[in-house]
Symmetry: C2
C-alpha cells in the first residue's frame, strides 16, 4: 500500500526564517507541490516542520487556508524576483529585457520547481482553488508576458506568433525539465537542477525563442 518512504526525513532546512509559522509554510509548499492538495496530509506537513498536527489548525484555520498561505508565499517570491530584475533593466531595449526576463524565469523555475508543480496540480481541472490561483497570481504574469511579446512581434523583433502560444512555450519549455527533475535524473543520468544544467537549458530556450 504505502510506497512513499521516510516521512520523518527532514528536508533541506531553508536558510531564511525559522519561526514555527514559516517552517510550517515551507513544509506545506514542499508537500502540496509533491503530493497535490488532496494527496498531502496535514500530519505529514506537521512532521516535516517538526510540530504536531493540531498546530497547523491553530496557526492556519484549516488545510485550505494553509494551502492559500503557502501559495501566496511562493508566488510572492516569483513576483519579487521578476520585478526586481525588471527594475534593474530600466532603459534597456525591450528585446534584451525579454531575453533576460525569460532567463530569470528559468533560474527561478529551477530554484523553485514547487511553483509549477502546484500550478499543474490545480489548473488541470476547474475548481475554486484554480479560480483563485489564476485570478490572483497567474493572470498578472500572463498579461505582462503577453503585452511584452505582442510589442516585440509588432516591432518585428520575433516571428509573428500568437502571444498565448508563446506564453505556454516559455513556461512549458522553461520549467518542465525542472518539474520532472527526478525523472530526468533517472532518464538522462544528470541532475537538471545543478547550476551547469540550468545555464545550458536557459541558453537552449532563449536561442530557440530569440534565435540567438
Amino acid at each position: 500500500m504505502a510506497s512513499q518512504a521516510s516521512p520523518t526525513a527532514a528536508r533541506t532546512t531553508r536558510p531564511s526564517a525559522d519561526s514555527t509559522r514559516d517552517r510550517i509554510l515551507a513544509a506545506a509548499v514542499d508537500l502540496f507541490s509533491e503530493r497535490s492538495f488532496e494527496g498531502a496530509t496535514t500530519r505529514e506537513i506537521a512532521a516535516r516542520a517538526n510540530v504536531t498536527q493540531p498546530l497547523l489548525n491553530y496557526h492556519f484555520r484549516s488545510k485550505e487556508h494553509l494551502w492559500h498561505a503557502a501559495v501566496e508565499g511562493i508566488f510572492g517570491e516569483l513576483t519579487q524576483a521578476l520585478t526586481a530584475r525588471i527594475e534593474g533593466l530600466r532603459g534597456v531595449d525591450e528585446l534584451s529585457v525579454a531575453k533576460l526576463i525569460v532567463r530569470e524565469f528559468i533560474y527561478f523555475s529551477a530554484a523553485h520547481p514547487q511553483l509549477h508543480r502546484i500550478i499543474m496540480q490545480e489548473c488541470k481541472v476547474d475548481g475554486a482553488r484554480m479560480d483563485w490561483l489564476v485570478d490572483r497570481h497567474i493572470r498578472p504574469l500572463y498579461e505582462q508576458t503577453v503585452s511584452l511579446f505582442t510589442r516585440l512581434v509588432e516591432r518585428g523583433d520575433i516571428p509573428d506568433v500568437p502571444a498565448t502560444h508563446i506564453y505556454y512555450v516559455i513556461t512549458g519549455a522553461g520549467a518542465t525539465m525542472f518539474v520532472l527533475a527526478p525523472e530526468c535524473r533517472r532518464l538522462a543520468g544528470f541532475d537538471p537542477l545543478e547550476h551547469e544544467a540550468v545555464e545550458v537549458h536557459a541558453d537552449v530556450v532563449t536561442t530557440l525563442l530569440f534565435g540567438s
Copy 2:
C-alpha cells in the same frame, strides 16, 4: 470543505469499448490524471464508470493495480500512434520525419492530456510508481527521441544542443498548454484543445525547433 463539484456527472462517453472493465479503466485514467493517485478515490472512479466501488477490487485487485492497468492503456495508445506514424514514413528523410513526429506528438497531447498529467504527478518525486513508469514506458520514448535528434545534430540539420534538453523542450512546449487547458480557457478566453488552436500550436513549436 469540498469544492469540487458533481461527482455524478458522466464524462464524455468514449466511442470505443463499452465493457465494464473498459469503462472503469477510462474513468480511472481521467480521475488519476485529474486528482493524482492519492487524490483520486475509488468511489469516484466507480461512480464515473457507473458501477459500485467494490467492483474495482473484483476486476483489478487493488487501487495500485488499477492505476498500473490504466497507465498501461494510455501509454499503449501513444506508442501505437507514434509507431504507426513512423511506419507510414519509411524512406522519408530524417529531418522531415522528426518534424512530423513532433506534430503527431502534439496532436496526441491535445487529444490525451491525461498522459502528461499522470507523468507530471508521478515523476515529481522518486517512488515505486515513478520507477515503473520511467523504466517501462518513458525510457523507450526518450531513447528514441534522443537518438533521432542526436543524428540530426551530427548532420547539421539543427543547432548543436544537448538532446536531453531538446527532449524536455519538446514535451514541455508541446504539451503544457493542453495540460493546463482549464487555466488557458480562463486566462486567454479560448479552448486550446480545439482543432484550430492545436494546429497553431504545432506550427509554433515546429517553427521554433526546426526554423520552418
